[in-house]
């Protein structure tokens, strides 16, 4: 057992920390302290800073514009960004830098890698994800968006939903049904297509959430077109490619998420103190329980990081993390509402700023407004990125080996 980092990485960490701090104002508190307008401005500027200093795609190969470093450096960059309360990229980079890019590195042709990867970094292409549909959520394989090959183009018809930041993107990677053969399994016959959104056949509409925000969109494809070569991995391999893409759970979120949640507990303790609730034994007990959860998440994270740095696949175990933190977050935001009492029924101040997904950003003001917003956002945590019910299926079947039910 050794919880220190290799000596060689100490210098790298110091350099990264200095670099990040040099590009921040002296009174920087974290993204959470910015107004929405300031946040937009900041993210745009910040992304450029990261890109210029080779910190945007830390472990992509150099030949495609990355820094060519390892998981360890990626982890360190993530930890330092978390420490300072700055994002690791722009709003859509979660889908492009984190998911599509690495997927192309696995499944893409050489020509696709050379074309798309640099354009992700330069933001010539801004991506969003076209997976879920109104009738295909947990059961992703039941998608109905179809694409047929017509000469040198795919023609796409259908509707995607829950597309994050679709209104900010100019491209989408879209999971489509491209063939149907009743003899084949329902997991075959799909393809992952790369589709430009700036065309007549595509319409993007905002989806307003219970929080009042509209970061999600619906995307309608009506005879939308993309070139025939815009398929990743080959026609019919869409499911496999999609599973690769969804598996890019960065090992470092297991390390950085607990750090963010620890800050949430800190704010909550302060909230209890200033609300005069810190003397209440039941509030103290619940705060201790919240702290206990953060500790467990940190320790689970240490385990995950150990495996990730050793090059092991932590895919299935990520279900354990997700289930734990999403339920913890609901319990903790519920505690916040109880600490606030009546004030929660008419929250004061704006909600969470920045990306704030899934955790609040550093510098978030400690107000009823931010906690009430957080409470609502937390209700989605057990639904997105694989609902708790799906996670329990995965854990019971793939980790414990229990049999699938007949379907």
């Amino acid at each position: 057992m050794d919880l220190t980092y290799p000596p060689e990485s100490v210098a790298f960490r110091a350099r990264v920390r200095e670099l990040l701090q040099d590009n921040l104002p002296a009174d920087w508190e974290g993204m959470g302290a910015l107004t929405p307008e300031q946040a937009d401005e900041f993210i745009a500027r910040w992304r450029t800073v990261l890109h210029e200093h080779d910190l945007l795609a830390v472990n992509w190969p150099r030949e495609y514009g990355g820094a060519g470093l390892t998981e360890l450096e990626q982890l360190i960059v993530a930890e330092e960004c978390t420490r300072l309360g700055v994002p690791q990229g722009g709003l859509n980079d979660n889908f492009s830098v984190q998911m599509l890019g690495p997927t192309l590195l696995v499944w893409g042709t050489e020509q696709q890698k050379r074309h798309y990867l640099p354009r992700i970094l330069s933001r010539e292409d801004v991506w969003c994800q076209g997976f879920s549909e109104p009738d295909a959520g947990s059961d992703l394989a039941s998608i109905r968006t179809r694409a047929r090959l017509d000469g040198d183009h795919w023609i796409i018809n259908g509707q995607k939903t829950w597309t994050s930041y679709g209104h900010l993107a100019n491209s989408a990677f879209v999971l489509c049904r491209t063939s149907s053969n009743p003899e084949e399994s329902r997991y075959s016959g799909m393809s992952l297509l790369l589709c430009p959104l700036d065309q007549d056949g595509v319409e993007v509409r905002p989806l307003k959430m219970m929080t009042g925000d509209a970061e999600f969109t619906e995307v309608f494809f009506t005879d939308a077109v993309c070139p025939a070569e815009n398929v990743v991995g080959g026609p019919g391999l869409g499911w496999k490619v999609a599973m690769t893409l969804l598996s890019f759970e960065r090992g470092e979120t297991a390390a950085t998420l607990p750090a963010k949640f620890a800050k949430d507990v800190e704010r909550l303790i302060d909230l209890a103190r200033t609300s005069g609730r810190l003397d209440d034994p039941s509030i103290r007990e619940r705060l201790a329980f919240a702290h206990e959860g953060v500790e467990q998440m940190r320790h689970l994270g240490l385990r995950a990081v150990t495996r990730w740095l050793a090059g092991e696949d932590i895919g299935v175990e990520s279900s354990i993390h997700k289930l734990f933190w999403s339920e913890w977050l609901q319990s903790t935001t519920e505690l916040a509402v109880d600490i606030l009492g009546l004030e929660a029924t008419a929250p004061i101040g704006h909600g969470l700023q920045g990306i704030a997904f899934p955790a609040a950003e550093a510098g978030t003001p400690n107000t009823s407004g931010t906690w009430a917003d957080y409470f609502f956002r937390a209700r989605a945590a057990t639904i997105y990125a694989g609902s708790s019910e799906i996670q329990r299926n995965i854990i019971s079947e793939r980790i414990l080996g229990l049999p699938k039910e007949p379907r």
């Binding site: 057992m1 800190e266 007990e285 299926n393 019971s396």
Partner: protein, 391 residues
């Protein structure tokens, strides 16, 4: 950055697991309990002399192997898996810890080598009680005219009290909590076995009537010993709880795969499957904390009192959840005497209460949080220091 057992530690774990499966499995335990024979002394001797586990955490200068607490936690995890009923926890964990914490060189040199060899069994009186201060301890020490010490009072729920050859006894002295060593067969000491809920963890109640005692350490040593025993006892019990919790999950899953109803394995129904998944998550999370606590306590990293509290709370709950769920998944058969599930539940309940229930620890940690917070807003650094987060 390596948060896992080393190869040597994994080897220790497999060796102990294989040994206990062969000599002290749950099946053998149940036979022993039915015959009311008590623990198997042959197996104990092998644990002590062949595997040398009893002296694992005793420094070499006192006749032990000089390993860290983490190795002891590994052994306890394996013992937890089989609900081992020998006196390891009382003697090799509690009594050993008490002596090591005492700073009494003479006592260490006299008793530790014997405890390490397993030839002397020890325990700590009052260990596992929530309150360990002088005002809560019901044993009082007084000076004799000859200049020695005698103890008067009573104590209960003493783990392995009946078979211990030596007792470490925190007792109220003139000014605070002192500590004493008492012979298991001392004059004036009456011991009675309590009918324990946990059949694998014998408990005794004791009455002290002018029992001659040897003082351990200086004035106030009892405070130090009781505190240390509470911390280390919690961390070690957590390790043991996690081994047993693992077995609860394994048992439930195995049953759910084999038991068929309505034409298919019951584990294929989501109600069963999801329950097993929820338990697994709770156990894996608590296990990670138990591993961290064992490591932190070995190296004196962070605030062990706080770490021990959070660890004991989540491990107690996870084990309790696993044991109750195992019974539920097994249906009617899980409720029978013949099935080991009830033994696991009994251990889960006794372990939940020894060294403080989850509620107790959360109240204490909550009070600590409030105290730290009183120093001003955002005292994250103090809380982080206590848990020893890396920079």
């Amino acid at each position: 950055m390596y948060f896992d057992l080393s190869e040597d530690q994994q080897e220790l774990r497999s060796t102990v697991r294989a040994f206990l499966e062969g000599t002290a499995s749950l099946a053998l335990l149940m036979r022993r309990l039915d015959s009311a024979d008590g623990y198997d002394e042959v197996v104990w001797n092998r644990i002590a002399t062949e595997l040398e586990l009893t002296g694992l955490a005793v420094p070499e200068e006192y006749g032990g192997s000089g390993f860290s607490l983490l190795e002891t936690c590994i052994v306890l995890g394996e013992m937890g898996r089989v609900l081992y009923d020998g006196p390891f926890f009382a003697s090799s964990v509690l009594a050993t810890t008490a002596l090591l914490a005492s700073d009494d060189e003479d006592a260490k040199r006299e008793y530790l080598p014997q405890l390490a060899r397993g030839t002397l069994l020890g325990t700590v009186v009052g260990a596992g009680a929530e309150r360990t201060g002088a005002e809560s301890v019901a044993v009082k020490a007084s000076r004799t005219t000859a200049g020695g010490w005698v103890l008067d009072g009573r104590a209960s729920h003493v783990i392995d009290g009946d078979r211990a050859g030596v007792l470490i006894v925190p007792a109220a002295g003139d000014d605070g909590l002192d500590c004493f060593v008492v012979d298991g067969d001392a004059d004036g000491l009456s011991k009675a076995s309590l009918p324990a809920m946990d059949l694998t963890r014998p408990l005794a109640e004791m009455v002290f009537a002018e029992v001659p005692a040897r003082r351990l350490g200086g004035a106030g040593c009892g405070e130090v010993v009781a505190g240390r025993v509470a911390e280390i006892g919690s961390v070690c019990l957590a390790a043991e709880q996690m081994g047993a919790a693992e077995v609860c999950v394994e048992m439930a899953v195995e049953y759910a795969k084999q038991r068929h109803q309505f034409g298919r394995p019951i584990g294929s129904f989501q109600a069963i499957k999801h329950r097993c998944a929820s338990v697994h998550v709770a156990v894996e999370a608590a296990k990670s904390s138990a591993l961290y606590a064992g490591w932190a306590a070995s190296g004196g990293v962070g605030d062990i009192a706080v770490i021990a509290g959070t660890t004991k709370a989540c491990c107690s709950e996870a084990f309790y959840l696993a044991a109750t769920s195992a019974i539920q998944v097994h249906g009617g058969i899980g409720f029978t005497w013949e099935h080991p599930a009830h033994l696991l539940l009994r251990r889960a309940v006794s372990s939940r209460e020894f060294f403080g229930s989850p509620a107790f620890h959360r109240q204490r940690v909550g009070a600590w949080i409030a105290e730290v917070s009183a120093a001003g807003p955002g005292r994250a650094d103090r809380r982080l220091e206590a848990s020893a987060w890396s920079p």
